[in-house]
Amino acid sequence: MSSQSHNGNHYYVPNPVAYPVIMSAGLLTLATGFIFNINNFAAGKQMMMVGALVIIAMIFKWMGAVISECQNGLYKKWEDKSFRVGMIVFICSEVAFFAAFFGALFFMRVISIPELASYDPQFTMYKDFTDAWPSAGPGGVVLGKEYVAAKFSPMAAWGLPAINTFLLLTSGATVTWAHWGLMKNNRKQLVIGLFLTVALGIAFLLCQAAEYHEAYTEMGLTLGAGAYGASFFMLTGFHGFHVMLGTLMLIVILFRSMKGHFDADHHFGFEGVAWYWHFVDVVWLGLFVFVYWL
């Protein structure tokens, strides 16, 4: 790992490392276990547990190694730029992932549901189906399975979701405020800002849990509630998952800040998480407008 110093830059090439390959083995175990589990074969759950533990352990080790390399000053401007570009590209790929689900939502709303409702009543099995949104579809027998279109009430935008919008937007502001603190070398502002951001993230997740609970127990809105239920839960669910990941990363950053890591011109770890958080924020705005509101 040591490097022979010429008068210029070195690019840091890490030593051989076993975390990635072990992590892949963990993923293989997790995936196989999951498949066994949903197909009702034995040992699925156990395999999932083992796989998940391996993955979590490897993330800890790997990120630990990255943090200690960072603290030992192995990353300089050149490496820093790699991380930045890499993070931007990664976020772009996340955008594409969400785009798939938004695309499915628009397709069902704009194309498939109007079309199902548009057929000549003489020639369709969906005679009474009208074009409306939200919709759980016309119902019917498909692939031998009977589906009675779910009766549900859609999630109103101006209750909990509006509060959640407020929480996330505020958290975007607090993380920026923390960043300003870092730039001014005001550690207190940095730590308080991050702490607030984490708290807001957790509050968001709690609200979302309450929302899901209400949807399932009182509103008849489930994953199985046709086009609306599927797109609602998949979009908000994946978003919530990303908020959870973001919150975990923020917690790491918070602890690192408390330990005195990062300074004004050396803080990719902080910025990467902040970017991710803003991305999650923007996705939420899309959700709020297209899933809840319109």
């Binding site: 790992m1 090439v13 890490p14 050149w78 890499g86 790929s93 594409a96 069902m108 498909v142």
Partner: protein, 530 residues
């Protein structure tokens, strides 16, 4: 950035040996070697599967297998060939050659690089495990939907579909990691003086490839996730009773699927002009035009996907749009063809094995592109869709345009990688056997398709018997010829005439300034490009 730069962890070569070297390596050449080896192995695995299929098709009627198993073989064959043979080959070349070509100490993110490779074997295991499990009475075999996963067939399918879904997830993570690495390496690791417009074409083509991967692989991941929840968690994305639509799946799949065909070919379009210029001993023609065309194709590739299901019942304006946009791709593609041909025009050509493959590639891939234009015609496609004509078309693009391109690359760079020359005699034999048997395998399939033989069906009407018999015999010759390739590679790794640094007389570029094989850390000082 200063002018003297080195790779870290230098002289004392503290990397482990034996199997641990490969499991833990962060070195771009080691990782590149693993990608290429994996690709070669999976090429043979996928080939064996399809030979079984061809054997079944030798005669009308069912002789060797049940239709269910036949369907599993064709689907897994395609997934293996595309995701586990072609794509890893391209990534392997990127790993090996990009840092050498742009004068970088290594890939930008070496640990992610290692992970990107080591996701592949688990993915391959997931894809093929259901075959084995079925032997022990667990599940009913691998995915039997073809590589396209169309709903509702994939919703009805057995556990093999779930395995394929997760396999695709792992492959997807691997591709995204690989793309991030390539983009960062190209943007951040170029040696001083190498401006973007001085980059080797291979770097440009991989940049476009990575862009397409980042834009489309996550959409595929989303699509198969919806499939998974439709299968097991009660959603109705692809189910009309719930307001969803099976055609939605086709849109999502082909939004990925069409760019995918360029993803596997673009890297080849990158190094092919380099091969052509080497053996023509003159600079490549139209560098700028090629760069622009690559990006034009990359952009167009994202907006033409529905030509894969013209017959599904789309509104006429949509049909027209997708027809014209698809045909528009052939314009930049034609520019590329023109540049390739102009590169060899009036050059002092010599026909070593890589050049043979390159020339053969231009001709055969050209046939692939032209038959694509035929398919892009909505009215004509009503006849050709889902027939053997399509199968022949995409094998001219994917086997000739893809695999034979990869072979050209392998022969071109193998002496650089191993430090030994391969046997020219065997290389030439391999080329001629491959080119001839390939055509004998697939030309009959054009006629079968025109005459109405549907694809993905294990049995066929009597009038198709002769062409199928020819195709099967030729396919076996094609398959067996690849053993020459394997033998040639293995013996070249083991030994052979010492390769010079430049290897080929006309070779230009930074990779040829290093010894063959290059030292473990390529550039101790970054070369300066003027």
């Amino acid at each position: 950035m200063s002018y003297t730069t080195t790779a870290n962890h230098d002289e004392h070569h503290d990397h482990p040996t034996g199997i641990m070297r490969w499991l833990t390596t962060t070195n771009h050449k080691d990782i590149g070697t693993m990608y290429l080896t994996f690709s070669l192995i999976m090429f043979l695995v996928g080939g064996a599967m399809i030979l079984a299929v061809r054997a079944e098709l030798f005669q009308p009627g069912l002789q060797l297998m049940q239709p269910e198993f036949y369907n599993q073989l064709i689907g897994v064959h395609a997934l293996v060939m595309i995701f586990a043979a072609l794509m890893p080959a391209a990534t392997g070349f990127a790993n090996w050659m990009l840092p050498l070509q742009i004068g970088a100490p290594d890939m930008a993110l070496p640990r992610l690089n290692n992970w990107g490779f080591w996701l592949l074997p688990p993915a391959a295991i997931l894809l093929t495990l259901p075959f084995t499990l079925a032997m022990f009475g667990i599940g009913d075999g691998a995915i039997a939907t073809g590589w396209t996963f169309y709903a509702p067939l994939s919703i009805q399918g057995g556990m093999g579909v779930d395995f394929a879904i997760f396999s695709v997830h792992l492959l997807g993570i691997s591709s995204v990691l690989g793309s991030i690495n390539v983009i960062v390496t190209i943007l951040n690791m170029r040696t001083p003086g190498m401006t973007l417009m001085k980059m080797p074409m291979f770097a440009w083509s991989w940049l476009v490839t990575a862009f397409l991967l980042i834009a489309t692989i996550p959409v595929l991941a989303g699509a198969v996730t919806m499939l998974l929840t439709d299968r097991h968690f009660g959603t109705h994305f692809f189910d009309a009773a719930g307001g969803g639509d099976p055609i939605l799946f086709q849109h999502l799949f082909w939004f990925f699927g069409h760019p995918e065909v360029y993803i596997v070919l673009l890297p080849i379009w990158g190094f092919m002009p380099q091969i052509l210029q080497t053996f023509s001993r003159k600079p490549m023609y139209g560098y700028k035009a090629q760069v622009i065309s690559l990006w034009a194709i990359g952009a167009l590739a994202l907006v033409v996907w529905a030509h894969h299901f013209f017959t599904v019942g789309m509104p006429v304006p949509a049909l027209l749009y997708f027809m014209y946009s698809t045909m528009a791709i052939s314009l930049p593609l034609a520019v590329l063809f023109f540049c390739w041909i102009a590169t060899i025009w009036k050059g002092s050509l010599s026909f070593e094995t890589p050049m043979l493959f390159a020339i053969g590639w231009i001709v055969l891939f050209g046939i692939g592109g032209l038959t694509g234009l035929v398919l892009a015609d909505v009215a004509a496609d009503a006849q050709y869709h889902h027939s053997y004509f399509v199968v022949a078309h995409f094998h001219y693009t994917l086997f000739a345009g893809g695999m034979m391109g990869v072979m050209a690359g392998v022969y071109y760079w193998l002496p650089k990688m191993t430090g030994h020359m391969f046997s020219e005699r065997l290389g030439k034999l391999h080329f001629w056997l491959t080119a001839i048997s390939f055509n004998l395998t697939f030309i009959p399939q054009f006629f079968l398709g025109l005459a109405g033989m549907p694809r993905r069906i294990p049995d066929y009407a009597l009038q198709f018997a002769e062409f199928n018999a020819i195709s099967t015999v030729a396919a076996f010759v094609l398959g067996l010829s690849q053993l020459i390739f394997v033998y040639n590679i293995v013996s070249c790794v083991r030994g052979g005439k010492k390769a010079t640094d430049r290897v080929w007389e006309g070779a230009e570029g930074l990779e040829w300034t290093l010894p063959s094989p290059p030292p473990y850390h390529s550039f101790t000082e970054q070369p300066i490009v003027k």
